[in-house]
């Protein structure tokens, strides 16, 4: 009996710790007052509506969307063949390559951002958008390789040999037999990459330039000037968006099988 109450208490605390801040943000955004406070002063939807009227939010949301979608697609275009090569062919240093590819997950974003800025973007004079695109692609690549590798390892390679003996080329076997059977993993990698890219702060912080900011960076700088509840409202909206994406993915894909 005592054990039961202890475990309930721990679960309760864990959930409070995880969901509490989210609830505070949602409520803070509902405030009728002029400043971000908790508990909110009155209830109003005006800050949630104001979010959609701020020009810089609109522009930075578009940029973040662009980076998340196309950065992830680029990462998959590189990552799927890489994962395939590592899992199917006896590539020299295959495991080492896998570890190196995973580096952006392990190395702190601040360092990645600074390194990219100092040694790539500045010397080669990249535009801000191109720099951000390349950085986001690199950041998502490890997820693409890992998740797709996992589904490839579950797929027996004799299936491809069977396809070849029925007349396929190796490439044909990949597109006709391998891809259809790993599409769940590829989609899971896409969602994971999308969310990772969209929420990315430290690297984008270094690479963002005048007038070109991702949404999280734009929110940071907005808060430096104005401390109204619209940032809380926007945060809540983004959190809902992430939850919906993951929920839909879990429902239709069994997302948690892949990550």
């Amino acid at each position: 009996m005592q054990y039961k109450w202890t475990s309930r208490l721990i679960i309760g605390l864990t959930l409070t710790f995880l969901i509490g801040p989210f609830l505070i943000i949602v409520l803070a955004g509902l405030s009728a007052g002029e400043f971000m406070t908790f508990p909110p002063e009155g209830i109003s939807l005006k800050w949630y509506l104001k979010v959609f009227t701020v020009d810089s939010f609109r522009a930075s949301f578009a940029l973040s969307m662009f980076l998340a979608v196309f950065g992830t697609i680029a990462a998959l275009l590189l990552g799927v063949p890489a994962a395939y090569a590592i899992s199917r062919y006896d590539i020299p240093f295959g495991e080492t390559i896998k570890t190196i590819v995973a580096a952006p997950i392990i190395v702190p974003g601040i360092i990645v951002g600074l390194a990219l800025l100092r040694y790539l973007v500045v010397p080669l004079n990249f535009t801000v958008t191109l720099a951000l695109f390349l950085a986001h692609t690199a950041l998502v690549l490890p997820y693409a390789v890992r998740v797709v590798s996992a589904s490839l390892n579950n797929l027996r390679s004799d299936m491809e040999e069977a396809a070849v003996l029925l007349g396929c080329t190796r490439l044909g076997a990949f597109t006709r037999v391998v891809l259809p059977n790993i599409q769940g993993g590829v989609l899971a990698a896409f969602i994971l990459g999308f969310v990772t890219s969209f929420n990315q702060v430290p690297v984008s912080l270094f690479l963002s330039g005048p007038g070109v900011r991702t949404l999280p960076i734009d929110m940071l700088s907005y808060m430096e000037i104005t401390y109204d509840p619209s940032v809380a409202a926007l945060s809540a909206l983004l959190a809902f968006l992430s939850v919906i994406i993951v929920f839909v993915a879990e429902k239709f894909l069994g997302f948690s099988r892949y990550v």
Partner: protein, 337 residues
């Protein structure tokens, strides 16, 4: 040999620097059902993969119907392979699995429909055409894998351990199925197996392999009744094999004098050929197993362990009994190799 349809000439196969098959020569006749038999690691699967084109020979030549295919890519050879794991495409229905090759060839829809339907019916799967492989039993998946290859009317059909994943009843069913298909189509078949009973039951000829070398090539009758090597004899159920030195038999534990003068290097007896209950020597029963028609004994003797079997109707012995036994010259088989 002029009637060779598939011919392996001085074939050498290697993975990197490790040679699996040093030099192989096999001629397979058209319409023949041939078994590559041997324990795991004997090179039988590697040989099959080389015929299919899934691995490139180190040296030597493979010809099919007079055409040198040694360097021909696997997808141009027109060879079918039924994988041990079936290797069906999980995302496609049974019908689409079987139609896969024909769709690649861009055959007219009517022809695809007709050929696929025909072969699915032949392997008794017509009613499951819309099922995915995951919704089919092991036996059904196997037959689908067979149909998928046969739809292509291959010059040669290779089968990798075709019966090993099936239970006893399905095994008999599949065996009958394979023989029927072979009879009806006259297709040349090569199957790989480690199971001597399977090879004996199915094959026209058996290639017994060990360490990449052919131990013996012949009809099931020849391999079963007249093994040429100790390995072959052991593989086909001669469980008591002893070296012959002058008038002595040499076993693992010691030697015993025999009354006959054997000239072969080895003498071999099947369990049933050992006389139990009479004979010049004695052994202690250390194991008994009742196997229906037979009673199987393990005897501890001065030669070492001897495996014997008597008709179940004969008197039974218990563990610990001291039993007279003999290794008669008449029931023994001399092995020269």
């Amino acid at each position: 040999m002029s009637d060779a349809y598939v011919s392996l000439q001085n074939l050498s196969l290697a993975y990197g620097s490790s040679i699996v098959v040093p030099e192989l020569n096999i001629d397979i006749r058209k319409g023949e059902l041939i078994a590559l038999l041997g324990p795991s690691g004997c090179g039988k699967t590697t040989t099959m993969r080389a015929i299919a084109g899934l691995m490139t020979p180190h040296s030597g030549k493979i010809t099919i119907d007079g055409v040198d295919v040694t360097r021909m890519p696997a997808n141009k050879r027109g060879i079918g392979l039924v994988f041990q794991s079936y290797a069906l495409f999980p995302h496609l229905t049974a019908f689409e699995n079987a139609a896969f090759g024909l769709r690649l060839q861009k055959r007219p829809a009517a022809e695809i429909e007709e050929r696929v339907t025909h072969w699915l019916a032949t392997v008794d799967l017509a009613h499951l055409a819309d099922r995915k492989p995951a919704e089919m039993s092991g036996g059904q998946q196997q037959r689908l894998s067979l149909a998928r290859s046969l739809v292509m009317e291959p010059k040669v059909l290779l089968l990798d351990e075709p019966l090993s994943n099936l239970d006893a009843r399905l095994r008999l069913e599949m065996r009958t199925e394979l023989q029927r298909v072979q009879r009806d189509t006259g297709i040349t078949m090569v199957f790989v197996t480690h199971d001597q009973a399977e090879a004996l039951a199915l094959a026209d000829r058996i290639v017994l392999m060990k360490d990449g070398v052919i131990e013996q090539l012949g009809t099931p009758d020849e391999l079963y009744n007249a093994p040429r090597t100790v390995f072959g004899a052991d593989f086909f159920g001669f469980e008591n094999i002893f070296e012959v030195a002058g008038r002595d038999l040499i076993g693992a534990k010691g030697k015993m004098p025999v009354a006959f003068g054997a000239t072969a290097r080895h003498m071999a007896w099947r369990p049933g050929a050992v006389s139990v209950g009479s004979g010049p020597w004695e052994g202690v029963v250390t194991g008994v197993a009742f196997a229906g028609e037979k009673r199987e004994y393990v005897l501890d003797t001065d030669l070492g362990q001897i495996k014997a079997a008597t008709d179940a109707s004969e008197p039974a012995y218990q563990i610990g009994d001291v039993v007279p036994f003999g290794l008669p010259e008449a029931t023994g088989f001399p092995i020269s190799g």
